[in-house]
Structures are given as C-alpha cells and as structure tokens.
C-alpha cells in the first residue's frame, strides 16, 4: 500500500509514515495530536472535522491523506497567532456562538473559507455557505452573528 511520508500542516512540514488510504482526520488527531478537528459523523455530513486544504474548506474525515500530500493543510490550531486570536475566534466569543462547542472548530474553519471567498457575505450567503455544519445545540443564530461581526457587518449581540 502506498505511503505518505510528509504533510504540510499549519505551515510546517511534518514527517509521517501513514497508509495513503487513512483519513486525514485520523492522521491529524491520532498521529499529529492536532485534536482541534473533531469527529462528528465520519461521513462528511456534520462539518465538525472541517480543515482548509489550499484554502478550501474540506471534510477531513472523508479525505484520504494520500490526496493531500503536497498541499497546504490548515487546522483550527493555526488560527491563533502569537497568543492573539483570529478575528473569527474573537467574534465567536463576542457572540457567545457556542454551547458545548464541539462543532466550533469546524464552524470557524468553514467560516474562514467562506470569508476568504466573500469578504462581506449576506445573511443568506452565510446560511448557504455554512449549511453543511451541524450545531446540535442550536446556536446557529449566534454563529451567523459571529460571522457578521468578523466581517465587519455587525457589532452588538443580544
């Protein structure tokens, strides 16, 4: 079976020794101890495992690691830089956009991909863009607000 021997994760080249058919999520979590990306369904249905592959939001649970060997992988762990949170992370706190927060990493990664494509998405565009991510606690309204805050379209939150 083909092997993957190195991955570009969060701007660093990491040596691994993994069968190419293994899911990227499993490699991130179990081999690289980057546990911010979550398992929620293993079928690409809930978005908890979302990471960026060359900037594109991708479900790492259904992505074989062999397909991303040469690409830039970005996980939630890379968003905080030198102790400073990313604007989306700040906005999620400001909007209280979480309860159990198990979906939060995936939400933030999906939102960052959305904002990279569309700096000021409308409410409808946010809802369409985020619809693949499940928050079972039902904090959707607050996540919408957080994305609006991070994109400079809202400030105050109830």
């Amino acid at each position: 079976m083909a092997k993957v021997t190195s991955l570009n994760v969060n701007g660093r080249k990491m040596a691994v020794d993994i069968d190419s058919s293994v899911s990227l999520l499993s490699v991130l979590r179990n081999d690289l101890d980057l546990t911010g990306s979550k398992y929620g369904c293993g079928e690409g249905q809930c978005g908890a495992c979302t990471v960026l592959i060359d900037g594109v939001a991708t479900r790492s649970c259904i992505t074989q690691v062999g397909r991303v060997g040469g690409k830039q992988i970005t996980t939630i762990e890379a968003l905080e830089k030198d102790g400073k949170l990313h604007p989306l992370q700040e906005a999620f706190i400001a909007a209280d956009a979480m309860q159990c927060a198990y979906c939060t990493s995936g939400m933030i990664m999906s939102a960052s991909a959305l904002l990279a494509k569309n700096a000021k998405p409308s409410r409808a565009e946010i809802i369409t863009g985020m619809n693949g991510n499940i928050c079972r606690c039902g904090t959707y309204e607050r996540i919408v607000q957080a994305i609006q805050i991070a994109s400079g379209q809202a400030r105050e939150v109830a």
Binding site: E77, I93, D96, Q99, C135, G138
Partner: protein, 733 residues
C-alpha cells in the same frame, strides 16, 4: 443544606435508562486511592441529606432505587496561597454553561473576580457525590450549595483578616478580592490572608447567602469562562484524551437489538499483528495500536447473530397501548409523584356544551450529541480510571464497580467538559466497554463510538400515544379533562388550567426500543398533546386561542409569560399573510414558565426534498421564559434559542425509523437534524423575577415550540396535525 428528597420523589418515569439491566456481566477484583491538597483552606459543607443513586433493582418498581448513601456529603471551596479559589462540584458541563453559572455565583458570594475562581467538575475522586446533571437541578441546588460554602469562606476569611489587621471583623469587607476597612486605610489581599494556613471549617447551618437583588457578578452576562480554549481547539474532550501506550478499541455489535450470539470466528482478526481480541459472553471487542488496524480487525471477525421478529414503526402505537409486562422503576402513575383524579369526569362532561376526544402520537427521536459516546480506560493494578463524557459520573462509577466486581473507591471517573448530552449521556456502557478492553489489553484503551453506533446503541426519547377527552362550555370554560399518556412519560403531564374535573394518568408499556431521558423528557409530548387540544377546543367554541387560555389559567406566572409573548409577537394585531399561519402555546415544567408564538409559511414543494408535498417553513418564533432570578441573561438567552432550534427537529422531521430490531436511519444523511437553513427569526423575552429562586433553564424552553407550530399549521391550512414529527416529508394533506 441541600435536600434532594423532593427530587427523588419526582424522579420521572421516563428516566428508563437508569433502571435498565447492565449490558454485560464480567468477573474481576480490587485496591486503594489517596488524594492530597496542598496548603490552603478547605471548607466542608456538613451533612446534607442527599438522594441515593437511583439504580434499578429489577422488579419492585422504584423500591430498589431507594438506597440512601452516607449522609455526609462534602462540597468544597479551596483558597490557595495565591488567593486563587477552587470550587468542587460533581455536576458536569455539557454545553448548558453551568460551569460559568457556578463560577460566577461563587465569585459573587466571595466578592472575588470571576477570573480567580476555578471549578473542578465531575471527577469522582475530587468532587462531592452528585446524583447527576439532569432534571434542570444544577442551578436550583448547586448554586445555593456552593454559595453557602463561599459565604462561610468569606466570613471566615474576614475574621482572619480582621485579626491580622487588628480591626473588628465588622469593619472589614471584601471588594474584588481585597479586604478593606471603612476608610480603606488598612487592606489585605486574599492571598495575604489565605497564605500558609491550613484550616478546616464546618459551614454553619444558618449561613445566609446573597439574595438576587444584591448580586453583583451573578445576574450579569459573564462570558463563557473557558470560551478561549474552545475557539482555539485546545479543549480536550474525552474524544481527545491521550494516555501513554494507549491502544484503540472497537466493539463488534449485534446485528439487531435483542439478538443472541450464534457463533463467532475471531481467528482472522487475531492474526493481524498488534491486535487483541476479547470475547466474554455477548461482548466481542478488539484492541490495536491504531484506529485503522482496530477497524480492520473488527471487520475481520465473522459473527452470526439470531434474533426473533420485533416490531417496526408501523405497529409502534398498537404495541405501546398494551400494558407493560415488566414493571419499571421510577415515578408513579400519573408521573411526577402520582396524580389523583379530581372531581368527576362524568359530571364535567355533563356540564359541557361541547366535548372532544383526540389522540396524539410521538415517534422515537435521537439526541445525536455531536460528540458520540467515548471513553478512555486505564488500569493501575486493580484501580481503574476512566475518562468519559457522561452526565452521571458517579452513576458511571457505580456501573464500572459493579461490572468489574470492585469497590467504588477503586474507580475514578473523570468527565471532561463534554460535547453535549441533552439527557442522552446518563449511562456508562462505553466506559464499561473501554474498561473491559483495557483490562484484557493491560494498557490504556480509548473507545470512541461511531455516529452509527451512537444512533443505534445509545437510547431514544420515548415514543408515545396520548388520548385526551375533554369538555368545554360555550363561554370557553373548561369543565372536564381526561388525559392518558402511554409510554412516553409523566413529565409535564400536570395542568395549569383550572379544570375542576380531571383524570390524568401515565401508563407504562413495553418499549420496542431502548429509551430514556431526553431534554424536557415527556414534557414535550405532553405539552404538544395538551396545547394542540386546547387550541382545538378554542376553535370549537370560536374563541381566540390566547383569550381561551387566559380565561382558564389563574397562575400569575404563566399568565405573565403568555401575555409577554403575545405582546412581543403582536398576537391578534394583524391577519397573517396568505399561506401563513400563527400559533400559540404555553407551559410549565421544572420551575420554568414558557410561552411560545410562532408564524409559519406553507411553501411550494422544494426540489431537493419532496417534489410533490408543500413544505412548512418556520418564519418567526417569539418565546417568553421565566425561571426566577436570572443568573446569566446572555447564556439563558442562548439556552432558550438552542432549545427552540432543537425543538424544530422533533416538531417537524426527526424520527427514528426501525424494523425488526434494526435502526434504518442511523446517519445524519438519513436522520435530518435542524441546520442553518431551518433557522427562523427568533425573539426571546426574558422575564427576570429577582424575588424567586432561580430554576434551571436547559429543558423547559423546548416544550412550547411543537404545539405552537402545529397550531400555526392549522391556522394556515385548517389541517390539524396530531403526530410528531408533523411534516417529515412536507405536508401530505
């Protein structure tokens, strides 16, 4: 101190999962634990009568559950040498923000900043015994318990500071963790007082706690205390726990519920390098050094299962109408302590101008917490430590002790703040499985359930059938109310309507599926049936649904939320648009009062879902909620919003499909849960009652949505939908 006896009397019937027999029977042995604290001050809450762990003992109904544990239950506050405060509670954080609620309550009582208070939660070695995080009990019981400890700590620290400063204790107060005398000429920090001391103090029984009107930190919207660790992905859930030398585990599941093992061939799996196969009765599991190998090994095990025919959704409600053959524990007839009929149904019906008989049903639904069940188990000799996401750490400790035949003091259960529960994580089956694998492997084992396993092998919100017979006068006065709930449960079954003749009962059934607690329990089903039926009666006598309710409700708190909701919604102010409808519903449960107004729109079929059926879109929801004094307005707001969104699923489309002991839709692709696109405009009205002790708020806000939506659909279409979910494939009529 805390007397949870009332709670015990009210343990609802539908907490079936607490009475189920264990899944496995193992055979093992035991040794000893010690923990220590450094210097500092430890405050001990004296004896409180606290409820026994309610565990099923089989036949005698709730009898077996009533084993009182030792009376001395300690709740601790610890102030270390740096003046940092640690509070200990057996409650767990599952997204309801109780960590923040409790932290700010302790800070409030001690007069220290929120940032200097740390909570140790849900660790059976470190925290006082706790029954579990359910029943909306954390706020009404744990807040006052920790406040009493904190108040005693504050008084004692003031006495110590007074001695140090040589002033009278009455001359000192604490502001922001500093002791100040009247003219601020003498000050000390908390650290300077606590430093180097090791004292134990029993909290006086008569200690008084700060009343809501005098709160400074409680009552404000303190930010989720560990929000930063969540948004940065750093928080370690059970799924993320790692131990040295840890293996991965997997269980080979039966082909159907109640299936028995015919044969198993483990040879091919055992031949895979690094794999260990464990079989013990009906337990079949494997361990391996990595997840890929363990999955491969589990798939390599050839198993034959045999199961007899079992019911499907088609026969469900007929099955539930039959009396239970097996008496279950918990609750009495009528639920919630045993209802007694009042007046005479015959008289009530005779006095009525109009009578109505209707049946309502609810399907099984799944909690589907985004973090499925998981556990990491580690044995050191006969000592067992398990990390697991459970709402009952002490209950899981008992399950583990029983499964491995060791004393409870050999078992430590640690619950990391967990990826939600909604009442669905009361049981310890995953912890038991992980511990069994770890015992065999001689190494720590992590076992994480797949989404399919979580959907299949956890437990469901009970399905149910509800029959209502009622009578009403033409002027809108209710005269008779007969209510029978089959299987779903007794929570929220009692009425706040003033009906002189009523007979309200719960009837136990044999459930085809494993069922148990769910956010709000049967209060959702009972409110759906009752509030739909009330709407039908209002219709029958031609009275506005709001007016009809107010005419029959005297309870001031319920009237207040009804009126607040109606006002914010603009009830009766304008006619709904064409193809739109409005509905209202109200209710009471667990100390919370709720009223919900909804506007829905009937829309053309959507291409994606069903090409022929019109769909129901929820346009707007307004909900007023009152649960006494509000501890954290923003988090309360968040809980209510979340409950409304979660309620949409059960109201419109969530339903477990099953046949012959198999779950047919155990994936998010088949079991639809609410998503961003289902989000209505939501407006919350918080009613703050500083004169009333705070009740919990995680559950009751969920009960009003389904009936409000059903009533709105009737308003729009003239079609009355009496089954939850109401429109899984859109409107079929």
């Amino acid at each position: 101190m805390i007397d949870e006896h009332n709670l015990f009397d009210e343990i609802e019937v539908e907490r079936y999962e607490l009475f189920d027999a264990p899944n496995y029977n193992f055979h093992f042995d035991r040794r000893d634990f010690i923990k220590a604290f450094g210097l500092g001050i430890v405050f001990i809450v004296p004896a409180a009568r606290v409820l026994a762990q309610q565990r099923g003992q089989g036949e005698s109904g709730r009898g077996g559950a009533n084993q009182n544990l030792p009376n001395d239950i300690e709740a601790w506050i610890h102030v270390d040498e740096k003046g940092e405060v640690t509070a200990f509670t057996g409650k767990v954080e599952v997204g309801q923000n109780t960590r923040t609620t409790l932290t700010q309550s302790v800070a409030d009582e001690l007069h220290v900043p929120v940032s200097s208070v740390h909570l140790v939660m849900g660790d059976t070695d470190l925290t006082p015994f706790d029954l579990g995080t359910f029943g909306s009990r954390s706020t009404p019981t744990m807040v006052p318990q920790l406040r009493k400890a904190a108040a005693a700590a504050r008084e004692m620290l003031i006495a110590m500071a007074a001695e140090q400063l040589n002033v009278a204790p009455g001359d000192l107060r604490i502001v922001d963790a500093r002791f100040l005398n009247h003219d601020k000429s003498k000050t000390l920090t908390l650290a300077e007082v606590a430093k180097g001391r090791k004292l134990v103090k029993v909290i006086p029984d008569n200690i008084t706690i700060t009343q809501p009107k005098d709160w400074t930190i409680a009552g404000t919207s303190v930010t989720k205390v560990d929000a930063r660790s969540y948004v940065s992905g750093k928080h370690r859930y059970t799924f993320d726990v790692k131990r040295d030398g840890m293996l991965y585990g997997k269980i080979v599941r039966p082909a159907a519920f109640n299936a028995s093992l015919v044969s198993v061939d483990t040879q091919a799996a055992a031949a895979i390098p690094g794999v260990k196969v464990v079989t013990d009765g009906n337990f079949i599991g494997v361990t391996a050094p990595d997840q890929q190998t363990v999955t491969k090994a589990a798939n390599a095990i050839a198993v034959d299962w045999k199961s007899a025919g079992q019911p499907s959704n088609k026969e469900l409600f007929d099955v539930l109408r039959k009396p239970a053959t097996n008496q279950r524990g918990g609750g009495g007839e009528g639920g919630g302590g045993g209802a007694r009929p009042q007046g005479s149904m015959a008289d009530g019906l005779a006095a009525a101008d109009k009578k109505l008989e209707q049946t309502y049903t609810v399907q099984y639904i799944a909690h589907a917490p985004l973090e499925p069940r998981a556990a990491v188990a580690e044995w050191n000799g006969d000592q067992l430590t398990v990390w697991t996401g459970s709402q009952r750490p002490f209950g899981v400790r008992t399950e583990l002790a029983e499964a491995f035949h060791i004393p409870e003091d050999k078992v430590r259960v640690i619950v990391p703040d967990t990826g939600s529960g909604y009442g669905g994580k009361h049981t310890g089956e995953c912890a038991v499985e992980a511990a069994r694998l770890a015992k065999a492997a001689g190494k720590p084992v992590k076992l994480t359930w797949t989404r399919e396993e979580e959907f299949t092998w956890a437990y469901f919100r009970p399905a149910g059938v509800i029959d209502i017979k009622s009578g009403v006068k033409n002027d809108g006065t209710l005269t008779a109310w007969e209510f029978h709930n089959y299987n779903s449960g007794g929570a929220g079954i009692q009425i706040k309507y003033d009906i002189p003749n009523n007979d309200i009962r719960f009837h136990a059934s044999d459930s085809p599926l494993k069922q148990g607690s769910y956010r709000g329990l049967a209060a959702t089903a009972n409110h759906f049936a009752r509030e739909s039926h009330i709407d039908e009666l209002a219709q029958l006598v031609g009275i506005d649904p709001l007016e009809f309710r107010l005419k029959n409700i005297k309870d001031e708190r319920l009237r207040a939320v009804l009126q607040a909701t109606a006002k914010a919604f603009g009830w009766g102010k304008s006619k709904p648009l064409s193809d739109h409808g409005v509905g209202i519903a109200c209710g009471f449960e667990k100390g919370g009062y709720v009223a919900t107004c909804a506007e829905i729109a009937i829309e053309p079929p959507s291409d994606k879902e069903d090409k022929t059926n019109r769909r129901v879109r929820i346009v707007r929801v307004v909900e007023a909620f009152e649960c006494g004094a509000i501890v954290n307005p923003r988090h309360l707001h968040n809980q209510i919003e979340g409950a409304i969104v979660m309620a949409i699923g059960g109201a419109l489309f969530e339903s477990i499909q099953f046949d012959d002991g198999k779950i047919l839709n155990p994936h998010f692709a088949q079991y639809r849960v609410p998503r961003f696109s289902d989000l209505p405009k939501i407006e919350i009205v918080l009613v703050d009652r500083k004169d009333i002790a705070s009740a919990g708020a995680g559950e009751t806000p969920i009960v009003g949505l389904a009936p409000a939506i059903g009533n709105a659909i009737f308003n729009a279409t003239g079609v009355r939908l009496r089954s939850l979910p109401m429109a899984p494939r859109g409107l079929t009529t």
